[in-house]
Symmetry: C2
Subunit: 602 residues, 2 copies
């Protein structure tokens, strides 16, 4: 079973927030004037307490007792409802909202740190909370005053829950091909008709109503993305006073059973089977996808954080196991009469642990850095800094979505391996983390889709200025590392500087190749995403190392922790970054395309 | 659900057997004089038919309906019993045994090809068959005439099933630390007492008896491996006539629930709780581990083949899905008014398929090559060739066990990714393949254990002569490739030649480092295993390419198939082998050890 003491290393979270992304500097902003280090800490403490108390205990039980559907009603574990209620009551559904909307007015950085703990404790249950929060955020951003008045209070109190209903059986990665229709009714509302699939939280018994945000197409809409509008479609119709009443024509066509994430219902929904499904349009027709994309950065930071935290808690469990489990003897000291050693003494176990540490702590710094950029984009007092943050974040977003999904899943794989045969059993939580995490490379834009976004849109964004701004931040870290005059850090700085120069050159080659022939140029984009991601992570590891080096003499009680940061940075450079070297040649060599292999040869 | 038409590409199996490992040449041997190409083919056809008819149909059902234990009795799906019965009746339990023992006297190569099909269809159910066959093989090899007479007929008819009972709660990777005791009784038999864990097939309702082969320790035995003896411990005691009678004191302490492989019971067994567990010794006391190791090569080829076939059928399913599933448009041709394309047209999907092909078809050639070596070791008319085969196989065995376990699991991961969100659902079989395959890097020697075997025992075996003999075979392929005078193959040959030279140099460095300090020298052994494995696979891909190149003009109806082989070979060299380049430096650099990171820093 999951051990709630192993969700995260709190020293690490504090270090990353305070000493790496500098959360205290957010306090200087007017919006956070009423906050303090203490209120930030209190929010995280509360999240930790709730995650431990209400989320972690049923993580395995949820996996083993999936929601059921008897044809009439979906039944979920009672623990899920309690957890969602506790989450809502503590105010986390509106953690970043304004005080006057009942929110905590927390920075995104702190809010994401809080949410990370729920993700580590129970991704399945926390998904209901996050979907509801995202739904409410969207209504808040684009809904009419009337819609906000009628829908937001119940959503933010957790009495109603929310979904995002985009995907259809024939429109998954290609959302713009969706076919659900919205036909205007005389009263200004719309008749919704169509099928949706993979709708998380699409039905359950956790609240009094479910508010679907549905992408659909008006009768005269053009094909593709520009023809999509966004509709509020509640399960129970909502009157002028914001009260849920009679049933809307939204039917559960079935539950989808998954490898992991089993606590979250995944549904096939049928809208308007009896031509009685009524929705109301949010904002302007034709802007539906744009509205959805408005929330995309935060959604993708959320996915990145989800993958990260599954990897993170897996690492903590593997570390604890390796310290306790005794097995075998060291090479060259094989006398069977001597006692066996804790497996953490075995070099290969140590390697697997250090690799996990490099992945998961690196990924956490990436997600928090991205959250900080999202804060700067919204609340930095300087307009130019806001634009810079937006552009740097735009480049990083495909990495944030994809790198943790891939490498923290790899960490989960290693956590199983550290546990040996026990790791394959359902008595230990690591196999569930691995199954749960396998969703992350698939949803919210697959790995391949993200790689095309990075190469074909972000790398050349604003004539390359976005990438240049990111590179400038890398150079800043390089300078900070050199300024320490520490031999190791200076060496890492030189390596990083040269590596980024090489990344820029490879990018130039690829962008030129894409300009000549976009199929050819972007055929190996998945490798580019991995390469780019490792360059970002190496940079962020050097950031961590610089901070750790500085604090090492100041806080001797954390010496092991800081030494661990320096060691993980070294490891990432010596191993992970070094192993990426041949990817440059692979990307620059146009002969190395799977594209050149006709489909009939496979 | 698994599609029984997608277990394997039969053209590929025929090509590998006939044109790559040269199975027909086995017919020249006296032992196989009564066989012919037709009997080989008939055996494979029968296996295919039974796998399709009796194994594939309940693969998912077995996963969803695990065996249950009510405290008295284990209940399994009736389909499992039928499948085991069909397998036994067709003679596959004794496929390689002598005619006069009721066997088919098939070469190991052909037998492994047959068994591969059962593995692809249903690893869970086939495990009962393979364990029984291995158990019978061991009794046949080391049992007394009396034991063979009493146990073999029922085992080979599938009326009784067998297990291998090595692992204990505190002796997993470190088998020699096991504590189960065997105390001599006046009648020459032994009282067995102890706990075993992770015993596959340790209890069930599939036959009339279960024959455990138990490693245990005599009272005066020395500590470690030399103190282990092997015992036959049946669930129901077996009389002089080979009849099962009263219950032996072997109790099921519980079933272990796993991530995958759910159709196979994994058990905790209690021997002698009431001091009434009677076993009989096989062969000489103190030789238990040696007897087990005698079967080890075939067991490890079996694990390699298991990983391979899960990857292989996953690839075939992904390929079929990619041909059918329509989604999105090609980059640069994004007009939403145009029809979407089959996803196999997307470059990244093509890349994922080609990578899977390179992994799984490469792994299959590796396992069949190893099986052929096992045949040569046993039946080659020339004594020196037998020794050569034994040494080459010894070096390859850790690769055979580990490479498919790792890379065909990676293929399963890609098969899920090709399916998109659907791949994560239990409606499609790829997620089960992924879960089932995750066992393979753990059992029969973990990845780390295998890497230590490769580096510390095999690489320097017989003063490096074993490795040199393998390298000689690589050079033979290099020469064959050059002799084609084909530009591409000559280029590949040069690359392979140089790569192997480099591998030898890295090996020399590591062996010297290990001689100086075995902890230091072998600390990165897991990377060495991956590096070595990729060098072996590159060699075997060139072998396949040479054969395909030769056949291409001769068999035009298979032109696409042969072109696919050439393309996969190119891909493996350009991508997989090329990406291994920095591992040499990593291995030679003693600074890059996780070992240098104290446990307290993690």
């Amino acid at each position: 079973m999951i051990n709630p003491n192993l969700l995260i290393n709190r020293d690490d979270l504090d270090f990353l927030l305070e000493d790496v992304v500098g959360s205290a500097s957010l306090l200087e902003r007017e919006r956070y004037a009423d906050h303090s280090r203490e209120t930030f800490t209190a929010a995280i403490d509360t999240a930790y307490k709730l995650a431990t108390q209400f989320f972690a205990p049923h993580n395995r039980k949820s996996d083993e007792n999936e929601p059921t559907f008897d044809g009439e009603k979906v039944t979920t574990l009672p623990e899920i409802k309690e957890a969602v209620k506790a989450f809502a009551q503590a105010g986390f559904l509106s953690a970043t909202h304004d005080y006057d909307l009942g929110g905590m007015q927390l920075p995104i950085t702190i809010s994401q740190a809080c949410l990370a703990l729920f993700r580590a404790a129970n991704v399945g249950t926390s998904a209901y909370c996050f979907l509801t929060a995202a739904n409410a955020n969207l209504i808040r951003a684009f809904g009419s005053e009337d819609q906000k008045r009628r829908f937001l209070p119940a959503l933010l109190e957790g009495r109603w829950l929310g979904t995002m209903a985009l995907t259809e059986p024939n429109a998954g990665s290609s959302v713009p091909d969706l076919r659900t229709t919205a036909t205007p009714l005389p009263d200004g509302r719309y008749a919704i008709k169509g099928q949706k699939i993979f709708i998380s939280g699409g039905d359950h018994d956790l609240g009094e109503n479910i508010v679907h945000l549905v992408l659909a197409r008006l009768p005269d809409a053009p094909p593709g993305a520009k023809g999509l509008s966004l509709f509020i479609v509640p399960k129970y119709r909502v009157d002028d006073e914001g009260r849920a009443g009679e049933r809307n024509d939204v039917a559960l066509a079935g539950l989808i059973h998954k490898m992991g994430y089993r606590g979250t219902t995944s549904t096939m929904l049928s809208f308007g089977e009896n031509d009685a499904c009524i929705g109301e349009c949010i904002g302007e027709p034709g802007q539906g996808l744009r509205y959805m994309f408005h929330m995309m950065n935060e959604a993708r930071i959320g996915v990145g954080m989800g993958g990260t935290m599954l990897g993170y808690t897996g690492y903590r469990h593997a570390l604890a196991y390796a310290q306790e489990r005794v097995q075998g003897r060291l090479p060259g000291r094989n006398d069977p009469a001597t006692p066996p050693v804790a497996i953490i003494e075995h070099a290969d176990v140590r390697r697997m642990l250090l690799t996990q540490k490099a992945y998961v702590e690196g990924a956490l710094s990436l997600c928090l850095y991205a959250a900080r950029l999202a804060d700067d984009e919204k609340t930095h007092p300087d307009a130019q800094e806001r634009e810079t943050a937006a552009l740097v974040l735009a480049v990083l977003i495909p990495i944030v979505k994809s790198w943790p999904a891939r490498y923290c899943l790899a960490a989960n794989d290693l956590a199983i391996q550290v546990h040996g045969g026990y790791g394959y059993t359902r008595e230990y939580p690591v196999e569930q983390f691995y199954r749960d995490n396998r969703l992350n490379p698939l949803h919210e834009g697959t790995h391949g889709i993200q790689s095309l976004d990075l190469l074909n849109r972000k790398a050349g964004m604003k004539d390359g200025r976005a990438l240049e701004l990111l590179h400038q931040r890398v150079r800043d870290t390089v300078e900070q590392a050199r300024a320490t005059q520490d031999t190791n850090l200076t060496e890492r700085a030189d390596t990083l500087d040269a590596a980024w120069q090489q990344l820029r050159e490879t990018t130039t080659v690829l962008l030129q190749a894409s300009a000549d022939d976009i199929m050819e140029g972007s055929a190996n984009s998945a490798y580019y995403l991995d390469l780019f991601g490792h360059h970002v992570l190496a940079w962020l590891w050097l950031q961590q190392a610089v901070a750790a080096q500085k604090l090492l003499p100041q806080k001797p009680h954390l010496a092991d922790f800081y030494q661990g940061k320096l060691a993980a940075c070294d490891w990432f450079f010596h191993t992970e970054l070094a192993l990426m070297e041949p990817v440059h040649a692979l990307l620059r060599n146009t002969k190395s395309h799977a594209l050149n292999t006709p489909a009939t040869w496979l």
